[in-house]
Amino acid sequence: MKNLPNPNDLEIGDELPNYKTTISRTDIVKYAGAGGDFNPLHHDEEFAKSVGLPSIFAMGLLHGGFLTKVLTDWAGPTSVKRYKIRFIDTVWPNDELSCHAALKSKEIHNSRSLLSFDLSVITQDGRRVLAGEADIELTLQEN
């Protein structure tokens, strides 16, 4: 099993290491194929323009998926108990995204810890395109 981090190493307001990536059209098409979201607004340029959009745009769950990496790289892939995301603004091809998680609260009960994080994804021009919250449960490591 992956070694779990020690929740005592993290204070309220501390950020986990963030994750940055740029969204390409290929990323969007790959995610459509992997996830099963074939809404033409996400892959058909002519269709997107026909409804008044400047181009196709990314599914919210694509950058919502990128953001999970911030949590699981730190806590491991099996510690996230709740992951809630709100789609605030549109992500376009070539947007540069920065994914963040900051500790909001920490409860320690015996050997188990419940940590809650505020989440956000921000673009290169400072737009907050996604907000959310996550709960992570960890077992305290013995010193």
Partner: protein, 152 residues
């Protein structure tokens, strides 16, 4: 006009097998090559039963459901106007981790339907579509909730 009597109604029931190659494809599409998602032998050597199902993997339900377009067909069933409706939120709640080679049973149903005032003074209607996933022992292992917003 959204049919509020639909709240609580089951829309579909379907099998949801967790296939390791699909888990790997999904993880790589999220630019996450962590071998705990992509390499079964590595995951097993680390003490897991197989590769770990990524947190947002339940969104792949369209591959397993019999409806032609699960989201659009559900909106039509509810009487939602797809031109003024947007995907507002997604929530994933896990009772336990899920691994490749498990096969879950899923129930897709309508959750709460409620209204909120917009800053403009107009009203918007919010509709929850809930997916509950059960393991072979019929234990609920996760709940995935989508919130759709129809603006007036």
């Amino acid at each position: 006009m959204i049919d509020k009597s639909m709240s609580g109604k089951i829309i579909a029931e379907f099998d949801f097998p967790i296939v390791a190659t699909k888990v790997k494809e999904f993880s790589l599409a999220l630019k996450n090559p962590d071998p705990l998602y992509t390499d079964e032998a590595h995951a097993i050597s680390c003490g897991y039963p197989s590769t770990v199902m990524p947190i947002t993997f339940p969104v792949t339900f369209p591959f397993h459901i019999k409806m032609k377009d699960a989201v659009m067909d559900s909106m039509k069933l509810l009487g939602m106007n797809e031109k003024t409706s947007v995907h507002g939120e997604a929530t994933f709640e896990y009772k336990r981790p899920v691994f490749s080679n498990e096969s879950l049973k899923a129930v897709m149903k309508v959750g709460k339907i409620f209204e909120k005032s917009q800053n403009s003074g107009k009203t918007m209607t919010l509709v929850e579509i809930i997916y509950e996933y059960f393991d072979k022992d019929n234990e609920k292992v996760l709940i995935f909730t989508n919130l759709f917003i129809e603006k007036s």
